[in-house]
């Protein structure tokens, strides 16, 4: 297969036994009349250069045994009926990666200070090369990520993919949803314009309406009785250090469970009946003859 030659040897799907026909082809009939051709130095060096990437991978693989894990993960079996709805999780992961990458670059120009935050965002949008584009990717990408999270959640719910043994993965997913909303909430304040300021005031006050603990929660978010300089620093720290770390860790756990437990077939496909009828009991099989007593 052509595709196989593009995949490095350690990651290649192993051929089925009995498929190869010897590594160097059939042996020559007569060594005297037709001696085997020795390859030239250029050919040999070229061959070695061609093998170099695979050799590097093999060197790593020999020391990590990663290929076994990767082969198992990348070539795992998926159920019949797997369709485009099953890509929503990967799409969410892609949206998160876009947010992480653009966020890192935005942090290079952003100043989390109440007096300079708005000016630094204006600077990114108006002066920095492609600044408006990267800022826009981060801004619109956040909405895309929230939408994809909900679509992914809806797919899981309507396909019944949250049921045994995948309940824990649903729970992890709900925590990831909450963390994503936390990201959206804390990120909204950072431009520090009128809209983000008042939206954060309203959001914090909604947090404060929880009984008993609410007032303390809103105080914690603001770092004081009023939204101020420490609030912005606090939101920035939560937005770029605390929550992303937690999200990365939980995505790891989420994916581990997906690979470990496998995905579900869509609900409109029923499990195949076993090809060989299994007798309910040996006694019954004996009594009713060869068909095992099954109708």
């Amino acid at each position: 297969m052509k595709l196989d030659s593009l995949i490095p040897a350690p990651l290649r799907k192993p051929a089925k036994p009995g498929q190869g026909n010897g590594a160097k082809g059939p042996a020559p009939a007569d060594l005297k009349t037709a001696p085997p051709q020795r390859p030239s130095d250029a050919q040999r060096l070229g061959g070695r250069a061609k093998d170099a990437p695979a050799d590097v991978l093999a060197w790593v693989d020999q020391r990590t045994a990663a290929s076994g894990f990767l082969t198992g993960m990348l070539f795992r079996k998926v159920p019949k009926g797997t369709n485009w709805f099953y890509t929503l999780g990967s799409a969410t992961l892609f949206a998160f990666i876009v947010q992480a990458v653009t966020g890192v670059f935005l942090a290079m120009f952003y100043t989390p200070s109440t007096t300079q935050a708005y000016a630094s965002i204006s600077h990114i949008n108006n002066d920095v090369f492609l600044g408006q584009f990267v800022h826009g990717m981060h801004k619109w990408g956040s909405s895309v990520m929230v939408i994809l999270v909900f679509l992914h959640m809806g797919r899981t719910f309507f396909f019944g993919a949250y049921k045994y043994p995948r309940e824990l993965n649903w729970v992890i997913g709900v925590v990831l949803l909450i963390l994503t909303m936390t990201m959206a909430f804390t990120g909204y304040l950072l431009p520090f314009d009128q809209r983000s300021f008042w939206a954060s005031v309203v959001g914090i006050n909604i947090n404060g309406t929880g009984p008993i603990l609410g007032p303390y929660l809103s105080d914690f978010l603001r770092a004081g009785p009023e939204l101020g300089a420490t609030t912005l620093a606090r939101f920035y720290s939560i937005h770029m250090l605390l929550v992303p770390g937690a999200i990365i860790a939980l995505i790891g756990a989420h994916l581990y469970l997906v690979v470990k437990l496998g995905t579900t077939a869509p609900p409109w496909l029923h499990a195949e009946k076993p090809k060989v009828a299994v007798p309910a009991s040996p006694l019954e099989a004996g009594a009713n003859g060869e068909d095992g007593g099954r109708p």
Partner: protein
């Protein structure tokens, strides 16, 4: 108890102490602002004659220092009215922070009401809620007179009967059992007595 088990427990205990020594100060650092009450702040907003009984005058003053314009807030100030049972020598300062979720309300002179642009909260002349989603009347600021100037001080909230209580965030009810369900925060100032 075996020697192995004793060592296991001892090492786990030491690990717990070491972990707590790192985590507790960090958490304390993050939650400390909840328990910190700032300095009481008073600011002159105008001469005594600037304010009248039958309408409000809008004043802008600093509530949070060090963050520029974002730390400023707006109050509507008038003289106390005898027919409303207020001391005519005192001044009433009503906060423009909506008691629903904290948007800035505006005093509409023609209607004599405070109206919130966000979700349609409406308050009467005294700041009592007469419509929309707010859960209590508008907050007040303490007032006093110094050297012929009206000064505004710390914020306090009021019940539906306009009795002063400790300042609450918008969205939180006041009075009765709500005083316990929304406990006063340690970083707010005691309300004025009477």
């Amino acid at each position: 108890m075996t020697r192995r088990r004793a060592f296991t427990i001892a090492v786990q205990g030491l690990g717990g102490v070491a972990g707590a020594a790192i985590v507790l100060p960090a958490v304390g650092f993050a939650v400390a602002p909840i328990f910190h009450r700032g300095k009481e702040r008073w600011e002159a907003v105008g001469a005594l004659d600037d304010f009248v009984v039958d309408t409000y005058r809008q004043v802008v003053f600093t509530e949070t220092e060090g963050i520029g314009d974002a730390g400023k807030t707006t109050a509507y100030v008038r003289k106390g009215a005898k027919q409303l049972g207020e001391n005519p020598k005192e001044f009433i300062a009503v906060s423009n922070r909506c008691a629903h979720l904290g948007c800035p309300v505006r005093f509409v002179e023609a209607a004599g009401n405070f109206i919130c642009p966000c979700h349609g909260g409406v308050y009467d002349f005294e700041g009592k809620r007469i419509g929309g989603p707010p859960v209590r009347p508008l907050d007040h600021f303490q007032t006093r007179t110094r050297n012929g100037q009206v000064e505004v001080g710390p914020r306090y909230s009021v019940t539906n009967q306009l009795e002063p209580v400790r300042a609450r965030d918008p969205g939180q009810f006041t009075g009765g059992v709500w005083e316990y369900l929304y406990p006063p925060r340690p970083d707010t100032f005691p309300p004025p007595s009477g």
